[in-house]
């Protein structure tokens, strides 16, 4: 186990490095630069701005400088927001995005796995068909439709919850629900498929023959193997949810990370984009590692090596 972790870390660091390298050069290969968007600057002004951020030097040199800054823990200044560093922007946005994402994921796992088990146990019966039809609906309706609909009903018409903004736990209920709905749908489908497959296997028959209670068979013996496909899904899904959903942040006017990233990418704010890419890539690598460990713990046939 320790050797596995060590090896994976030795793999993760160069991977992260390659990701940063790929992102850096891909972004610089795209046409345009951060200062040519609104109105044309006089060439000498543009040149002096470029010089201020070191962007007049050759690309390779800029890359080396950037990587060395990052290694020293400095993500650089934002090229668009005056007087803000990338680290500041991230530490403002990430907590909001992560809170909403983590709450949504927890909610989705609880409800999704529960529904998936129920549907699998009643395969092709009424409750299964209804659950899966709702699950399909959950996947099919985009969040930018559910969000305004729920706001219309629960905020505008009933007045139970705030429409938008970040202001206490009550303001999180709608965004979390909207974000969780499609995840509930996907998780319940994956759990159902896994559970149906597992319940047919020999060791479950053995457990039945031993006279174990149905609850024990399903929850202790079945669930462990049934959620294997789910584990592979959750790693990357989790990273996506933690770093924020642009749609949710836009509709509920939340100060999250997703918004700064897309705006940054569209305006070529290279520093912000690179900063968020590093956070996102780091999270993905970490969560995939956790998913692999969980997979091996759940399935003894897969050995960590």
């Amino acid at each position: 186990m320790f050797r596995f972790l060590l090896r994976r870390l030795m793999v993760a660091v160069p991977t992260l490095f390659l990701v940063v390298t790929a992102a850096f050069f891909m972004m610089r290969a795209a046409p345009g630069n951060p200062f040519d968007s609104d109105r044309k600057l006089p060439p000498e002004v543009e040149r002096s701005i470029m010089a201020k951020y070191g962007m007049d030097r050759p690309l390779g040199e800029q890359y080396v400088a950037y990587v060395s800054n990052v290694l020293h823990g400095d993500l650089g200044p934002s090229l668009k927001y005056k007087d803000k560093s990338v680290a500041e922007l991230i530490s403002e946005g990430l907590p909001t995005s992560a809170t909403i994402g983590l709450s949504a994921l927890t909610l989705a796992c609880l409800v999704g796995i529960g529904l998936g088990i129920i549907a699998a146990l009643r395969q092709n019966q009424m409750i299964d068909n209804v659950t899966m039809a709702i699950a399909v609906l959950g996947v099919c309706i985009p969040t930018f439709v559910t969000a305004p609909l729920l706001v219309l009903v629960f905020a505008a018409k009933l007045g139970w919850l705030p429409t938008a903004g970040l202001n206490g736990i009550r303001s999180l209920i709608l965004p979390v629900t909207v974000l969780a709905l499609p995840q509930i749908a996907i998780i319940s489908r994956l759990t159902r498929a896994g559970m149906i497959e597992v319940l047919r296997s020999n060791y479950i028959r053995t457990a039945r023959a031993k006279g174990l209670s149905e609850a024990r068979i399903v929850l202790r013996h079945g669930l462990r193997a049934a959620i294997l496909p789910l584990v592979s899904y959750l790693g990357p899904a989790c990273a996506g949810l933690l770093t924020g959903s642009l749609v949710i942040e836009k509709i509920f006017s939340l100060p999250g990370l997703g918004k700064s990233f897309v705006i940054g990418a569209l305006q070529r704010d290279y520093m912000v984009v690179m900063g968020v890419v590093i956070v996102y890539a780091g999270l993905i690598l970490l969560l995939n590692l956790l998913a692999d460990i969980a997979y091996a713990m759940l399935d003894p046939r897969v050995r960590l090596s």
Binding site: C140, I141, R189
Partner: protein, 304 residues
């Protein structure tokens, strides 16, 4: 594990064994077809999906208005007025015509991007999982790197480099979706390759390539089909998400996602602009889902 072996006769069916198969009269795929046709939800969905596909192909030629025709007098026309069966939008464009074109575009994006991701993902994942060792590690490292870049990053870069282009939307979505597919396939392959029938095939002297294509890939069909039914809606949704951000299909061309995202903005004033595209999208995606479930139950040899 006798069920596992039942794949072998079907897979080995050469010219000389065809005769025997005719006498036996039931191959694995015959059985699968029979079971699929016995599934009511799946057959109804296949019929409905076929109708939707035909509508998407021929429908746009039959509507009295074209999808990009602006009618100044019909702005915000409700359904069934001024010759607009489903009403008109803020420019007086006929919703039915736009819906049919949007359906065509969305179906094309969904199917093509998923097919791309399916082919790449299955080949990549099965090869990596089966070969294992250093090759597996290298192949999955490549996947990890691409995985670690946010989807929207690719899309924005492609778009600012090449301009907005519907082919690029296919490419961007397909290029991202295959990563998940390859991971799932690899995971399944890892446990499949330790099964007895694979060992038997190896003992019988089959090449790695033959084992992958004849024994591993057919046994992957169950999880892969389930994942495809999740991918097609995911692709169509990814496209609609891009449309919501103003980076999707370009006006006046449209897609279901574009129509829905425009409809959601005018939800209270002109609900039909949201309702008709949403219903069409949900119906289409539901069909894919029921067919996928039906296929899964039909193909899975462990079901017998």
């Amino acid at each position: 594990m006798s069920q596992g072996f039942s794949l072998t006769p079907a897979a080995h069916q050469g010219p000389q064994t065809m005769e025997r198969a005719a006498v036996k009269g039931r191959s694995l795929w015959d059985d699968a077809r029979r079971r699929l046709l016995a599934n009511r939800a799946a057959t109804v969905s296949m019929g409905l999906l076929l109708a939707l596909v035909l509508l998407a192909i021929v429908g746009p030629f039959l509507t009295p208005f074209t999808y990009d025709q602006i009618n100044k007098n019909d702005v915000w026309a409700p359904p069934l007025t001024a010759g607009h069966l489903m009403g008109a939008d803020s420019l007086g464009r006929d919703l039915l015509a736009r819906l049919l074109v949007g359906l065509r575009v969305s179906l094309a994006i969904g199917v093509v991007a998923t097919a791309v991701s399916l082919v790449i993902g299955v080949i990549w994942g099965a090869t990596a999982g089966y070969l294992g060792g250093r090759i597996d590690e290298l192949m999955m490292r490549f996947v990890d790197i691409l995985y670690s870049l946010p989807f929207i990053f690719f899309v924005i870069l492609l778009m600012v480099t090449f301009g907005r282009n519907i082919i690029l939307i296919f490419l961007a979505i397909g290029a991202v979706e295959w990563l998940t597919m390859s991971r799932i396939v690899r995971g399944q392959t890892l446990s499949l390759k330790q099964k007895e029938f694979v060992e038997a095939a190896r003992a019988a002297g089959l090449s790695d390539q033959a084992i992958i294509t004849r024994h591993i890939v057919p046994n992957l069909l169950g999880p892969v089909v389930v994942y495809v039914t999740l991918t097609i809606p995911a692709v169509i949704l990814a496209e609609s998400f891009l449309s919501f951000l103003g980076m999707g299909v370009q006006e006046p061309l449209t897609s279901l996602g574009t129509l829905i995202s425009q409809g959601a903005q005018d939800m209270e004033a002109a609900p039909w602009l949201l309702i008709f595209p949403s219903v069409t999208m949900v119906a289409t995606l539901m069909c894919f889902n029921f067919i996928g479930d039906g296929l899964r139950d039909a193909i899975d040899p462990k079901d017998r």
